[in-house]
Point group: C2
Chain length 164, copies 2
């Protein structure tokens, strides 16, 4: 079976047991979660959120990139979120590597050297602090917008507050 | 109780029942999912993936933005994914709006007019096709990298293939 057909078969089982069809586009808890693409957790699971509660923005590292800002600004000004929760995690693929190393890796695999800033992380609590500060300084959010920062330990499932 | 304390209390319950601590950083199924930040579904749920199986990249619309490309290139060349699954959905906050409307909305809420391209969507199957084509044309992926495209109906839970 191809991956395409396997995914449609999995989805048919999901749809047969589907009960979220009455939820609306605006998140009920007015929360947006910004976290890493890592496969080992869901943003909702870690924070005890239900379907319909919170927007979920994920990228490599959970970084407050320009695109994350695009998403969070839309989330807050058009769809009513009032909190952003930033979560970076232990054992991240961006932790302890450099742009030069990552660009060389891409060139070895694809044959082309990219001019990408991969937004690598040298310390996971520091990167949360940086991104929380960046978002708090962004002028495009509502006046009462709040940003919280945590690190997540992938071996224990535990969040830890990042002090400001 | 503050949101901060509520989230830590929710997480303590999650950590008490935690069983994913032995999973590793490389996704077991070699899949990266690119989809929208919408609150009404999880990427894993819709495709029948388990924790540890797939990277999850989410932003407003599930668009193949520069930051999504950053994440997907890292995912494939450093962490071994070989498939990208692009999913956009019905009733998206980016569907049928314009950049001008969204910029005016931000200005009304924040007092500042942003120069952001929100990557609005006029037709959800067309935007999937565009983003699949963009990723297939990207030179930074491994030679055998494959990209699949689907739309997701938030009222039924069903995926639909987007023909190339």
């Amino acid at each position: 079976m191809t991956l395409h057909d396997e995914l449609l078969a999995n989805n048919a089982r999901y749809a047969a047991d589907f009960s979220a069809g009455a939820l609306r586009v605006r998140p009920l808890r007015q929360i947006a979660i910004l976290t890493c693409m890592d496969s080992r957790f869901t943003a909702q699971g870690v924070l005890g959120m239900q379907l319909g509660d919170a927007h979920v923005i994920r990228n490599a590292g959970g970084r407050a990139s320009e695109d994350a800002v695009r998403s969070l600004v839309l989330s807050s000004t058009a769809l009513g979120t009032r909190w952003c929760v930033v979560i970076h995690h232990t054992d991240c693929g961006l932790l302890g590597v450099t742009n030069e190393e990552l660009r060389a890796r891409v060139e070895a695999v694809s044959g082309v050297r990219p001019d990408i800033d991969f937004l690598p992380i040298s310390d996971v609590a520091s990167s949360v602090s940086e991104d929380v500060a960046l978002l708090r300084a962004c002028p495009y959010f509502p006046p009462d917008y709040q940003v919280l920062g945590f690190t997540y330990d992938v071996t224990t499932g535990r969040l830890h507050s990042v002090e400001e």
